[in-house]
Symmetry: C2
Subunit: 313 residues, 2 copies
């Protein structure tokens, strides 16, 4: 079973009713408490040697990363992160030499975006794993569903540097890696503030955070809306030390990808100014249920699984 098959499988057990809004294919479960109050509920785990290596990840980094991977799911729906529970599985006795920096990274990142750690559980485990469960709130959650053909596709920052880190660390020491690349991978920032602003202004018709690569996450938006998309190669914001391939398929960027109606482009520009951000208009939603990469005047169909597939074909 691939991850996609697993998610499909899981769907048959997930319940949708009037209280639960589209929990099956969103970044968070969305629970309606009252007319303008929704709970967002998400969880994300990190496992030693699968998601991180202690050879290049400090405990502080680990805390930041655990917080961000969860906060980013709340950001993707335009929500406000509120309360978190930590599960810590550790092979080592808990010792302040490592637990202190870990908790500092975690709490620092949660607090920065208004979330509180309200409890936790610790268990013995043959190796390190960390799980965070996070509750957020939203008045008006932005879903994956909502994009329509003709709308523009935006990403909120340059892509690929987080993935470039994994390429560079293979034959360089941590010191030799550019600071921006280290930060992108080890201390990623969730786009909470942007998500909330887009939700308040009603500017994004659909939204997702880029955690598995631009193409794959864009394709999720397309599938949810029964559309396709074309993206313009020269408009893709490739991070300074990243390749185009890493920007398209790298993953762990935690940038937001969102769609905007043409008539809202001016308002969006004002939001960009207010937040002192640059948004990158990288393409648009199309009717045909396919993904195209447009390079100058050539339009090539690409597979959402990644740029690699495209290159090989």
């Amino acid at each position: 079973m691939t991850e996609k098959e697993w998610l499909e499988y899981l769907k048959k057990y997930l319940v949708e009713n009037s209280l639960l809004l589209r929990s099956k294919s969103e970044d968070c479960a969305v629970i309606r408490l009252s007319k303008n109050k929704y709970l967002l509920f998400t969880t994300d785990a990190l496992v030693e040697k699968i998601h991180f290596q202690f050879s290049y990840t400090s405990f502080f980094d680990l805390g930041v990363k655990l917080a961000t991977s969860n906060l980013s799911d709340i950001a993707a729906m335009g929500g406000d992160p509120k309360w978190a529970l930590l599960t810590l599985g550790s092979p080592n006795p808990i010792d302040s030499s490592w637990i202190d920096p870990f908790m500092e990274g975690l709490i620092f990142t949660l607090k920065k975006f208004g979330a509180l750690l309200v409890g936790g559980d610790t268990v013995k485990s043959p190796f390190f794993f960390l799980n965070l469960a996070l509750i957020g709130e939203a008045k008006n959650p932005i879903l994956r569903k909502g994009a329509k053909p003709g709308e523009y596709i935006f990403v909120s920052r340059p892509l690929g540097e987080s993935s470039a880190f994994l390429r560079l660390i293979k034959n360089r020491s941590l010191k030799e890696i550019p600071e921006s690349v280290k930060l992108a991978h080890l201390r990623p920032e969730p786009e909470i503030i942007l998500g909330k602003e887009l939700s308040e202004k009603g500017l994004a018709t659909s939204m997702i955070d880029i955690s598995d690569g631009l193409l794959l996450d864009l394709w999720r938006i397309c599938e949810e809306n029964e559309t396709g998309a074309e993206i313009w190669e020269e408009k893709i914001p490739v991070g300074n030390f990243a390749t185009l391939e890493e920007a398209l398929s790298g993953g762990e960027d935690y940038a937001l990808l969102f769609t905007v109606k043409k008539e809202n482009l001016n308002t969006l520009e004002r939001v960009a100014k207010k937040l002192k951000k640059t948004f990158f208009k990288i393409g648009k939603i199309i009717k045909e249920k396919k993904l195209y990469l447009v390079k100058k005047n050539i339009k090539i169909e690409i597979k959402p699984e990644g740029y690699n597939h495209f290159k090989a074909s």
Copy 2:
């Protein structure tokens, strides 16, 4: 750092404010949404070889156990379990031969008590671990704090059989173990219905679920209330195949322990009849901050860490 020290440590990072009610030392974090509406938020993990062995635990059992360990925390506060997220770490490809029975055990147990699985995450891992995060609701959560000297201590069912299972499985096959002992360990039931009834009737002045053994969990109530307790050996409901030691210190019973004022004993009896349950009045709360075991007319001080310590002294 022992687990207790870890919890103490964790406290310095946990935040208490007007929204959060006593999250530091309860079974769940308690979040006030409005005057009579609280969210309960809890998480619990199971790790292969630490919390269970596949040699005697089926995947269905595992699902039941994961659900119950979380539901029991909600029960301990008199809450209504509502929404759950699953994190599944697995070394094996996901395959319906094991995921089907696991999900059935999990969903069956959640549904039985009104809770819904609303999402999940799956990660690669060198061995199995499972984490559930569960949100519940309560109008009037029952806290650990509230017990006063003179009040009676009750437990909601016989104790020790879950622990007896671990003793018996050492030199018996699963088939040779009595059914009640297998059920107690492999398919424990959370006391959701009782918890809610006690909360609605305002009958329990304090409550906890017995997950780490009667003595240890009773001592948590005592510490929270700056009291002690005496328990009466001949009144302890020792499960059929369990020893007194297992009833006192075994753990994973998931029975409720609660305290009741003398003037409410009659009402409590009516609740017992209504729910077709027997409650066991095992002792009372005392002023002196010590734990005593009373055997006939002899009163012996015991350590909360367990009956073993008592025997050794």
